[in-house]
Amino acid sequence: MLTWEFPPRIIGGIAPHVYNLSVNLVKLGSNVHVVTCDFPNTPEYEVVEGVEVHRFDSYKLPTPDFAAWIQLMNLNMQRAAAQIIKSEGGVEVILHAHDWLTAKVAVGLKHLYRLPLVTTIHATEYGRRGGVFTEYNQMIHEIEIWLGSESKRVICCSRFMAEQVNRFLGVPFEKIKVIPNGIDPSIFSNLKDVDAVRSRFADKNEKLVLFVGRLVVEKGVRVLLDAIPKVLRKVDAKFVVAGDGYMKSELINRISENRLKGRVYVTGYLDTNVIRSLFLAADVCVIPSLYEPFGIVALEAMAAGCPVVASDTGGLSEIIDHEKTGINVYPNNPDSLAWGILRALESRDLVERLKKNMREKVEREYKWSTIAQATKNVYEESLSK
């Protein structure tokens, strides 16, 4: 399992995904080695719930750009992986790469050891930017095309992503498998002090609207900011914006400019347990993404029983069925977003119905055991022929 992030090194959705997948593959009897970047105060080698985690020295010196750092990191990753493959000698090894970030090491190992390569594409450069405009974008885009063509199978988390991978990366549909991301609902049990967490942000008579995600353009942070005053005109609410990213200072500036300071909390990165408590405490979880290959946050909210208001885009359209398992709004449309939030806050019957349907859908489609089995089937396919 080749991944640039793995808990506790969590940058985006790849870390929790690879963690859950690996742990559940082990439960199915697979032998899983995760090869990932080092992280302060974590051991070079440890066994986490049966998963062997190897952390190598990712390149530490300055580099001309992020892409150069990634390739140098891949050089080191391959050296680490080579030792592991050697120690597993004679056993069928499958390579599983995650995104362009591990393309170099994956393709290198594939050819040197003649091993089958399965790749999960979590997001594409083309999709993220709405096109390929700079030399840098083009470079990443080409690396993704290369990785796709070198892979026996390409796993995507949604039909939306499968379309993108086929259209923008030229991967034939026969090679693509759609396996959704999963959620483990038990992470929401045994959380103490949910009320205490809630009261940090909102009074009992105030509604709490939650946004969890990276503060970047494609997560729709600006749309949310434009919708907030519209919501506040009708309802007494507090907004909690949890996450970090390059838009953080823009956000904070706009909040003071629009005099929303007491109403919108930009918390930065929060502890996992606090975030989970917030999902339990919130009245609505809002996901105004402009580009969303899947939308794990939607699953988290659903598993916690928190109604979701989400852009009708990407993977979110497949997870949220309008007025059944959540509320869909037009993407990039503050009026529509405000409408959706108000709808979720105002109708008790709707909320009850949503909670029931959400719970059922999570049970039926998004359990990690199901997803790990589907992944294992892809591995078996990649071994044959």
Binding site: L61, P64, L72, M139
Partner: protein
Amino acid sequence: MGLKVVILSWEYPPHVVGEMAWYVRELARRLKERGVEVYVLTYAPLDERVDVDEGVIVKRVKPPISVTTNIVVWSLLFTTRLQAVVADLIYHLGAVDLVDAHEWITVDAALALKDRFEVPFVYTIHSLEKHRSANSAAPLNIAIESIEELGCKEADRVIVNSEWMKSEVAAKINSVANKISVVRPYTEAWLNDVLEVYRSETL
């Protein structure tokens, strides 16, 4: 003799950037004359192709992508393809005796091959980044220097073309001083020097 040697060099005619292209070509030709089975793996400015150049098998390889933002990315993706082609060659031949990687650009491939096939790795240095570039503090230069350092540390032997270069390399990383050999290019002694290094690593 029967030595099978893979030479990695991004420069080889017609891809001529400096003197190195001619050096490698002449070295390969003379090695062949001495009975060494030589495979040169180099960069393909146009199509990928395999040629036989005076008995030397030359495989030209393209990087897998066409656009990169700097030479560090370019070279590391080029070497990914390069190592794959050499791996195929080794699977076909059964084994090779040595990889002679010229310049920092090819170090990554030599390392990967050494890790996989345990084939000895000779690193031939024609120049150092600190001499090529006056600006050694920029991230690009630091990155290239770190690859040079990696090559020096991980190679079984280092070949340089002058005593001066030997002292320059040893000054940079003094732990490698004992494995540096000076060869005398285009002289009578040149091939003897090189073959001595090759043989000492393949016994």
